[in-house]
């Protein structure tokens, strides 16, 4: 068992899906019940509303943005390196939907594909 500092080695790190695409950041963590000993990471939370728990500026930024929180159960995490690699593709998990919304406009420009 290796010891890791969650604040430093997990929170705010890049998420990379099974197709090697960047698909968000670790915006928050679900540690389950803190009364459990030891508390374990149940899930990674990603998405604008998850910034709410990230201090005053995070709360402000979350209130300005829309979207919803995507919960990635810890079972779907493949490995934690510099980035967090996931076992599934972003669309299976509901991640990076912002990219899809914008893609239509970009695809319209000649030479985009």
């Amino acid at each position: 068992m290796t010891e890791i500092d969650l604040g430093l080695s997990l929170l705010d790190h890049q998420l990379i899906d099974s197709e090697d695409l960047r698909c968000g950041k670790v915006d928050d963590l679900d540690l389950g019940s803190l009364r459990e000993d030891p508390p374990t990471v149940q899930a990674i939370l990603a998405g604008t509303p998850a910034w709410r728990n990230r201090g005053r500026i995070g709360r402000l930024a979350a209130s300005l943005g829309g979207g919803r929180i995507v919960r990635i159960p810890w079972e779907d995490v493949e490995s934690v390196e510099s980035a967090v690699h996931l076992k599934k593709a972003a669309h299976e998990l509901g991640l990076a939907r912002g990219e899809d919304r914008v893609r239509r406009f970009v695809a319209w420009i000649p030479g985009a594909k």
Partner: protein
């Protein structure tokens, strides 16, 4: 053999890419006002950019952290977001100034109305960023920017008093107006260390798929390339010190700087100077466009990179387009690009500590950096320069007011 060739090409591109509108404005103005007295500041600024470019290149290659990955991880969401907003505002101002610079250089070359040329500059940057592959952009603009070397020849041809030049490398403050002197110290350090350089450098290392075996290229690009780029900055100041200082000319446009090559070298000197300025400033405009999009994507976790097709990284693509349009609109209002340059450089110094600190922290993290972790030398320079930059950052805004932006 190929390795040596790669290293040489990288160095050439680094020299050509080092100087941008901020360096031109501040070095020429400093030479015109203080002759060679401020050359020592260029050495400090160049040392800072070498230290942190090498470091962020190494961090990017080994740990796959570009600058704003590190910013968010180490500063957290809140402070990181403040750093992002600051960085983007400065990037925008810098971009606006560089687009203005392209138009001014084109105007002196071709003579069309300024606003038409601004629009042409905007379209040209958009087409280059959209259509040219990453490696090409860096090389083409880097090599053509080498035409700026005409200023080194001009500086020698103007026969400056070399003993005076040499004494400029020793810090001294022989001035009746310490606030203006201080303002130029801040400006010269700021111009050499503009933050987009490290954003672009670290993301570029990932774009080009550098591996740890390429770290020698990283080192030589940063150390040799930027040292020679710094010599180019020095020659701008020496040229201005030899030509403008004795005649009490205050350079107010980029054209005045180009004149510095025309006086000793004639028409060909002027032409090379303008072409050099055009590509140096144009390359910088492109770098800032990319940097703005890199920062956004890295902070929010979007897919990014020129190596991806635009539909594969759509938010990143929209981000650079929005940056470019906003930068164009700022300068299209008719603000003086030289004034915008001064603001962007002074404010960039204020924001620099939040860029450098996270890089220094990740570079010292053995978990990610393994045997490429910062050595004693890198930390000595890294911490030393962080302290220098902090001092300069604290002094920047007060000096801007006290000196009336260098007007005295």
């Amino acid at each position: 053999m190929k390795r040596i060739f790669d290293i040489a090409l990288g160095i050439l591109a680094a020299i050509g890419g080092f100087v941008d509108i901020g360096d031109i404005v501040f070095n020429v103005a400093a030479g015109a006002m203080f002759e060679y007295q401020l050359l020592w500041v260029v050495v400090i600024g160049v040392g800072a950019i070498i230290t942190y470019s090498e470091m962020c290149g190494r961090v990017a290659v080994v740990s796959q952290h570009a600058v704003f990955d590190a910013v968010r991880e180490r500063l957290g969401f809140g402070v990181g977001l403040v750093a992002l907003v600051g960085a983007q505002l400065i990037n925008l101002l810098t971009l606006a100034a560089e687009i203005g610079g392209i138009a001014v250089a084109l105007q002196l070359l071709a003579g069309l109305p300024y606003r038409v040329l601004l629009f042409l500059a905007f379209i040209a940057v958009a087409v280059v960023v959209w259509a040219l592959p990453f490696g090409w952009i860096e090389r083409v603009f880097g090599y053509c920017g080498l035409a700026m070397l005409v200023f080194a020849v001009a500086a020698i041809k103007l026969h400056p008093d070399w003993s005076q030049v040499a004494s400029g490398f020793i810090p001294s403050a022989n001035t009746s107006d310490p606030a203006v002197y201080g303002y130029f110290v801040v400006g010269l350090i700021g111009a050499a260390t503009v933050p987009y350089e490290v954003y672009f450098y670290s993301s570029g290392a990932i774009e080009e798929g550098w591996k740890p075996k390429d770290l020698s290229v990283n080192q030589s690009n940063a150390i040799i390339g930027y040292t020679l780029g710094g010599l180019l900055s020095c020659s701008l100041m020496i040229m201005a010190g030899a030509l403008f200082f004795p005649r009490e000319i205050t350079p107010e446009t980029l054209g005045t700087a180009a004149l510095g090559a025309q006086v000793p070298l004639g028409e060909i000197g002027l032409l090379l100077a303008l072409v050099g300025i055009l590509f140096a400033v144009g390359g910088a405009a492109i770098d800032t466009v990319f940097s703005g999009a890199y920062n956004m994507a890295q902070f929010f976790g979007w897919e990014w990179g020129k190596h991806r097709k635009p539909v594969e990284a759509p938010r990143y693509t929209i981000a650079w387009m929005v940056m470019l349009v906003l930068g164009f609109l700022i300068v299209f209002t008719g603000v003086d690009p030289i004034k915008v340059t001064e603001f962007s450089v002074i404010f960039s110094v204020v924001a620099l500590p939040l860029t450098y600190l996270p890089i220094l922290l990740v570079a010292n993290d053995r978990t990610y950096m393994r045997r490429y972790v910062n050595g004693r030398l890198a930390n000595l320079f890294g911490i030393g320069y962080l302290v220098v930059i902090l001092l300069v950052a604290v002094a920047a805004i007060p000096l801007m007011f006290l000196s009336n932006m260098g007007q005295g």
